[in-house]
């Protein structure tokens, strides 16, 4: 299957030509199977969310409900406070994203243009990403407890800012490296201070990169669970943490769980599809040459 996809066009011997025609179909089979594998669970989750509760106990399972209902959605959003979770998540994610984008762009510029701190400092900043979350969240929980930041949106915002900073810096660093310095030099000679050259020339030029980094940071904050689980409870809880209320379900909460899942997925998927073009660059920036 693989050979057909990458080897060139014209074969020579009839034997080779025949071998190449079959692999062409093979990849479609693979893609088809995997797409079903991807979409089936999402479909099941969606119809579970609109099934009336009786249908859960049906054998064979109901593939499409005859009487779809939205009752689980309102239960999830209100009885289980999903709506407040969404509100908190939105506020926290947007704030943390903005902070992370700003601070991260500043740092990335310093690293990219001035090689500040040599290789070691930038490596240290980037390696923050690989710290096991449990090692950080335990002491941060204790510290927050002392300073009263537990279960506050602000506390989670700054935690998320630090959490998303390495990836933002990584992406913007690679982006700035790809932008020639000469425009900033021109601005310096034209009469700008270094800050003006950065803010009025470099940053507008880097706008696509900043947007891509912001999208990544937002999705990271929107989907994060562990930190939110530990650092929030009744007041500042985020959308992913609402799902713990459905634990140990014995049939009653299937609908609410899937309804909330559908609600959470919508912005994720929308953003993801929009960011698709930048996705590859974001994941592989600096690593792909040419």
């Amino acid at each position: 299957m693989s050979q057909g996809a990458i080897a060139g066009r014209s074969g020579t011997s009839p034997k080779r030509r025949r071998r190449r025609r079959r692999p062409g179909k093979g990849r479609f089979v693979l893609l088809g199977v995997f797409l079903i594998f991807l979409l089936a669970p999402l479909y099941w989750m969606f119809i579970t969310s609109i099934k009336p509760s009786d249908d859960y106990l049906a054998v064979p399972p109901v593939w499409f409900p005859s009487r779809p209902t939205l009752v689980h959605y309102s239960a999830a959003l209100f009885a289980y406070r999903g709506l407040q979770g969404i509100e908190n998540s939105l506020i926290i994610s947007i704030s943390a994203t903005a902070l992370s984008a700003f601070v991260g762009t500043l740092m990335a510029y310093s690293f990219a243009r001035f090689e500040t701190g040599g290789k070691h400092l930038s490596f240290w900043v980037l390696s923050q990403r690989f710290l096991p979350p449990i090692a950080i969240v335990l002491p941060v929980f204790l510290i927050y407890r002392t300073v009263g930041l537990n279960d506050t949106r602000f506390g989670l915002v700054i935690a998320y800012t630090v959490f998303t900073l390495p990836v933002t810096v990584w992406m913007m660093f690679a982006y700035f490296k790809g932008v020639p310095r000469s425009m900033e030099d021109a601005a310096l000679v034209d009469g700008c201070t270094r800050w003006e050259a950065f803010w009025r020339v470099a940053v507008p030029l880097a706008a696509p990169g900043i947007i891509a980094a912001a999208v990544f940071a937002f999705i990271a904050c929107w989907t994060e669970f562990f930190f939110a689980l530990v650092l929030t409870s009744r007041t500042a809880f985020t959308l992913p943490t609402v799902f713990r209320a459905f634990l140990g379900f014995q049939g009653a909460q299937y609908g609410e769980a899937s309804a909330l899942a559908v609600v959470s997925l919508a912005p994720s998927i929308a953003l993801g599809v929009l960011a698709q073009r930048h996705l590859v660059r974001g994941l592989t920036l600096g690593a792909v040459r040419g």
Binding site: R19, A58, T116, A135, T223, F243, V280
Partner: protein, 313 residues
């Protein structure tokens, strides 16, 4: 000239001088000023907490008991001697290895399948990357719904396929739980591998294949001699990043199995979470998390060194 006017002019001059002086100072230290906010945040929310937790792991930190007595290595030995801790480490390694291997193999196959354009390719692309933007908790929730017993669709479909009743407890019986966890992880993260490997594949200049065809090399040989070597840096990158994320496995465990049955699906992160936040043995938990940190750091430096070497080529 009035005295007020003179004073105001002098003040303006001073202000201008001050602001110029400030601007000069700012320019001179610009690169450090840019770093200050970020470094400050990292120091406050990463370095300081880590040092604090190091202290906690050497004392007896308890909410109930006042005073924090120094207890030496007692917390560390408690972790090391705990059979659950040891099992969690083993399980983390095994699950991560299984997940990354499967995701790599599938991801590479998908990337190879998607390399050449065909109608509808961008639609397929959009669908393929959807799992990457979903919260792992939700992925766990979705698979829990799919795999549940007795009313889940999985057992029913398997029953149809195997023509007998299937009552596998995917979330409550070992070894089926492991399959469940691997399934959900592969579902979510194969696209990650896919994207990176596809980027690597598309960056290989097509004229390399054209040249090799003129030399008589095609198909499988071209894959081995051209594709794989040129893809190697991206493969290393993909595996490094995925592996370092896979060892943190927590969210899906929390939602799908809660560590069960018993403690059979305790990964290291879940184990430490339980010790710290369910049992509130905080000193033990921090000690354990420092051990995990050291192990992770060793793995990171090993992998990143290989990664940097691969890219230097």
């Amino acid at each position: 000239m009035s005295r007020v006017g003179e004073a105001r002019r002098r003040e303006a001059g001073l202000m201008a001088g001050f602001s110029t002086g400030l601007s000069l100072w700012g320019d001179r230290h610009f690169k450090w000023l840019l770093l200050a906010p970020g470094i400050g945040l990292i120091l406050a929310l990463s370095v300081y907490p880590l040092l604090f937790s190091l202290w906690v792991s050497f004392v007896n930190y308890d909410f109930q008991i006042p005073g924090h007595a120094f207890v030496g290595l007692k917390n560390f030995s408690q972790v090391v001697l705990d059979p659950v801790a040891r099992w969690s480490l083993v399980l983390t390694v095994m699950l991560s290895a299984a997940n990354v291997t499967l995701e790599f193999a599938l991801g590479l196959s998908l990337a190879l399948a998607m390399v050449r354009p065909f109608p509808g390719r961008s639609l397929v692309m959009s669908i393929l990357i959807i799992p990457l933007f979903i919260s792992p908790v939700i992925v766990g929730q979705v698979w829990a719904l799919l795999l549940q017993r007795p009313f889940g669709p999985t057992n029913y479909l398997l029953g149809l396929l195997l023509r007998r009743e299937v009552t596998i407890g995917w979330l409550s019986e070992s070894p089926w739980v492991y399959f469940a966890l691997i399934l959900s992880d592969v579902w979510q993260w194969t696209p990650f591998m896919f994207v990176i490997l596809l980027a690597g594949l598309t960056s290989i200049p097509p004229n390399l294949y054209e040249a090799s065809e003129l030399d008589g090399i095609g198909g499988w040989l071209a894959f081995r001699l051209i594709t794989l070597p040129l893809l190697a840096p991206m493969i290393t990158l993909a595996i490094t990043f995925r592996l370092l994320d896979a060892i943190r496995l927590f969210d899906t465990i929390f939602i799908m199995t809660a560590g069960g049955p018993g403690t059979k699906t305790y990964t290291s992160s879940f184990y430490l979470y339980t010790v710290g936040f369910t049992q509130f043995h905080l000193s033990q938990a921090t000690a354990g998390s420092w051990i995990l940190l050291v192990l992770t750091a060793a793995l990171v430096s090993f992998l990143v060194r290989r990664l940097l070497k691969a890219e230097a080529v």
